[in-house]
């Protein structure tokens, strides 16, 4: 696994790390999109284009011992939290050797024992699971850790969002709930989703702290997420982070996002955070153009290798599959029918 970069590192270092995860995530997403178009992927493909700065900022602010529950647009955060590219590729291709063994696919991947929680589809449902991990660790006397759960703004309309944020607040858990307000939930604009002036206004109603950031602004992402995570880590209870940005792709690769008005795409919200990050690095002389090009080609090579490898790997074999959902093998009912 790649080493994650904790918030305590020198500023330039964190940004550099974040950028490289963003870059790899973007290229990985591009590869998935290409595989999708080539008919090589079963089911849907969900990308994080335009949301990499936010997602990477989360990943680089976490330690290995922290907890992370990403959602569908968090390829960058996943990589930054330590997910090897091959795990992502294997899951998308359904490889029997991937963490989900072909049982679940695409963005539904994780390694719970490493604090990396695999999402179920039902929006909002992962937040209370993060609470549980944090709750258990506190019972065991483990301190100084943080759990991040990611949601889109559409998911704030779920009862699960509410119950779990309230639960975290009551238990004063070190939860950081990051809401990526990318203006749309599938096709639904925010005006059909909520009526508050600002999602950050929700925080006082739960008794939690809030942070707002511009998700198109690379350094704002790194800094604001970093300080939210630091507040939670320092024992100030749940932190609600609201990021404003735009999804620069369809809901999934099957969707052309025709419902996003061109004006919106061309507005400040539509800025590509990856470009912004590159400008930041160049401006602060953290890297030069040649270096960026090297990183890019390195990442592409890594991704191509992972894809080539996963494509050579065995698909799951139904005859080898243990068709049982219980861990307690003696309680499985395996009577054959008909």
């Amino acid at each position: 696994m790649l080493q994650t970069v904790s918030g305590s590192h020198a500023v330039g270092e964190t940004q550099l790390a974040a950028y490289r995860f963003m870059l790899r995530a973007r290229l990985l997403d591009d590869k998935f999109a290409a595989l999708y178009r080539a008919g090589k992927i079963h089911g849907g493909v969900f990308l994080g284009r335009g949301q990499e700065a936010l997602s990477a900022a989360i990943g680089v602010s976490l330690n290995k011992s922290d907890v992370f529950a990403p959602l569908i647009r968090d390829a960058a955060g996943r990589l930054a939290f330590g997910e090897p590219i091959i795990d992502a590729v294997r899951t998308y291709l359904g490889s029997a050797l991937g963490p989900m063994r072909g049982r679940d696919g695409n963005v539904h991947r994780g390694r719970p024992l490493e604090g990396y929680l695999p999402m179920i589809s039902h929006l909002g449902a992962m937040v209370s699971v993060v609470n549980g991990v944090l709750f258990a660790r506190r019972m065991k006397g483990i301190t100084g850790i943080v759990g991040v759960a990611c949601l889109g703004e559409g998911a704030t309309s779920t009862g699960a969002f509410h119950e779990s944020l309230n639960q975290a607040a009551v238990e004063k858990l070190p939860l950081v709930l990051v809401v990526a307000n990318n203006q749309f939930a599938y096709s639904t604009p925010t005006t059909s989703q909520f009526a508050c002036a600002d999602l950050a206004n929700k925080a006082t109603g739960y008794g939690v702290e809030s942070h707002s950031l511009d998700g198109t602004d690379f350094s704002d992402c790194v800094e604001t997420v970093g300080s939210a995570v630091a507040r939670a880590r320092a024992g100030h209870g749940p932190q609600l982070v609201i990021a404003t940005l735009l999804r620069l792709c369809g809901h999934g690769e099957h969707d052309d996002a025709g419902y996003i008005a061109p004006e919106l795409k061309n507005s400040a919200l539509g800025r590509d955070c990856l470009k912004g990050a590159e400008e930041f690095l160049l401006k602060h002389k953290l890297a030069d153009a040649a270096q960026l090009a090297v990183w890019r080609s390195e990442a592409i090579r890594e991704i191509e290798e992972a894809v080539a490898q996963a494509q050579r790997e065995p698909a799951p074999d139904p005859y080898e599959e243990k068709w049982s959902a219980l861990s307690s093998e003696h309680l499985n009912e395996l009577r054959t029918e008909a």
Partner: protein, 321 residues
């Protein structure tokens, strides 16, 4: 002209909106976007103010529908996937399904559940929840297997004065085609003999009807005449048609795409065993999905659910019993 199962669902909704001012549609992305599967395509434009996007709040979506039903409306609620109806579960099984019984006020809501497995959809976009809803009193549960039934049964669903769980199979959405929409239909609660035969009865519903028909084709080449009963509605369940078929064939195989514990296949066998025991020449058998979540990878998925091949194998075994 040729019309798909999905188009039939759209047409039925257009028809209902056109004919009955009390009908409206509420669901995620059903408006301008036309729904995740395009089942409400252009309907918002055609029927302004009557096709409305909801927030991602399944519980409140059903609660709202019940409130409008009290006021005499006939809402159609689209769940984006059947699987997400688990979030609305309480409102469906405790609010909607009990309203009439408690208060004598009917609750004519239609909850559309795009359900069932498709390749690569995995454990949370493939579930078959018909048995869950059928277990509760106060709900009607429909499972159309054909383009014609998708159309006419959705129209019936909207007309029924009780909450209807309308299970529309995603696997059939695009692939199933008909020449035209029907002008007549069997009443709700009547099963259909999808294929006649004398050697064995396969009772099934929804997408599995097509697997059963394919299995019947296969067995026909071996000289066996398999009768296929399409239940159409699983609650109410047309025991009479099933029993009559079993009386002719003497053999019963029930096939369902849902999980094996309980469910439609158990219910059918329990009824047949109780009512037409003497008619059976062999023990009634069933074939369901495996008792695990629905797998993502096509290899696993194809082995998880019954297919023409596994249905044929089960039928063969039963015929030879």
């Amino acid at each position: 002209m040729s019309i798909t199962y999905l188009e039939a669902i759209r047409e039925a909704q257009a028809h209902a909106l056109r004919d009955d001012p009390r009908v409206f549609i509420y669901g995620q992305d059903v408006g301008a976007f036309g729904g995740a599967f395009k089942a409400t395509k252009n309907l918002q434009k055609e029927f302004p103010g009557r096709v409305l996007d909801s927030p991602i709040s399944e519980d409140a979506m059903i609660g709202l529908a019940v409130g409008t039903a009290i006021e005499g409306m006939r809402p159609i609620i689209e769940m984006q996937f059947a699987d997400f109806s688990t979030v609305a579960f309480n409102q469906i099984v405790n609010q909607a399904s009990t309203l009439f019984w408690r208060t004598n006020v009917p609750c004519p809501i239609t909850v559309r559940l795009p359900f069932g497995g498709t390749s690569g959809s995995g454990p949370f976009h493939s579930q078959c929840l018909e048995a869950i809803y059928a277990h509760y009193p106060g709900l009607v549960v429909l499972t159309p297997a054909t383009v014609e039934d998708a159309y006419s049964m959705l129209l019936s669903a909207v007309a029924i004065d009780d909450p209807v769980i309308f299970c529309e199979h995603k696997f059939l959405y695009y692939h199933l085609k008909a020449e035209k929409l029907p002008s007549e239909a069997l009443p709700i609660g009547k099963a259909r003999i999808a294929r006649e035969g004398r050697d064995l009865t396969i009772v099934t519903y929804s997408a599995m009807v097509h697997e059963a028909l394919a299995a019947a084709d296969e067995l026909a080449t071996e000289g066996w005449q398999v009768e296929v009963v399409d239940l159409r509605s699983i609650k109410p369940l047309d025991t009479d048609t099933v029993v009559a078929s079993v009386a002719r064939t003497g053999r019963l195989l029930c096939v369902g795409e849902a999980w094996p514990w309980g469910g439609v296949t158990a219910e059918v066998i329990a009824r047949v065993s109780a009512e037409s025991y003497g008619l059976l020449d062999a023990p009634p058998q069933r074939l369901n999905a495996k008792d695990t979540p629905v797998p993502y990878h096509p290899n696993l998925w194809a082995a998880h659910r019954p297919t023409a091949r596994s249905v044929a194998a089960a039928a063969r075994k039963l015929i030879r019993f």
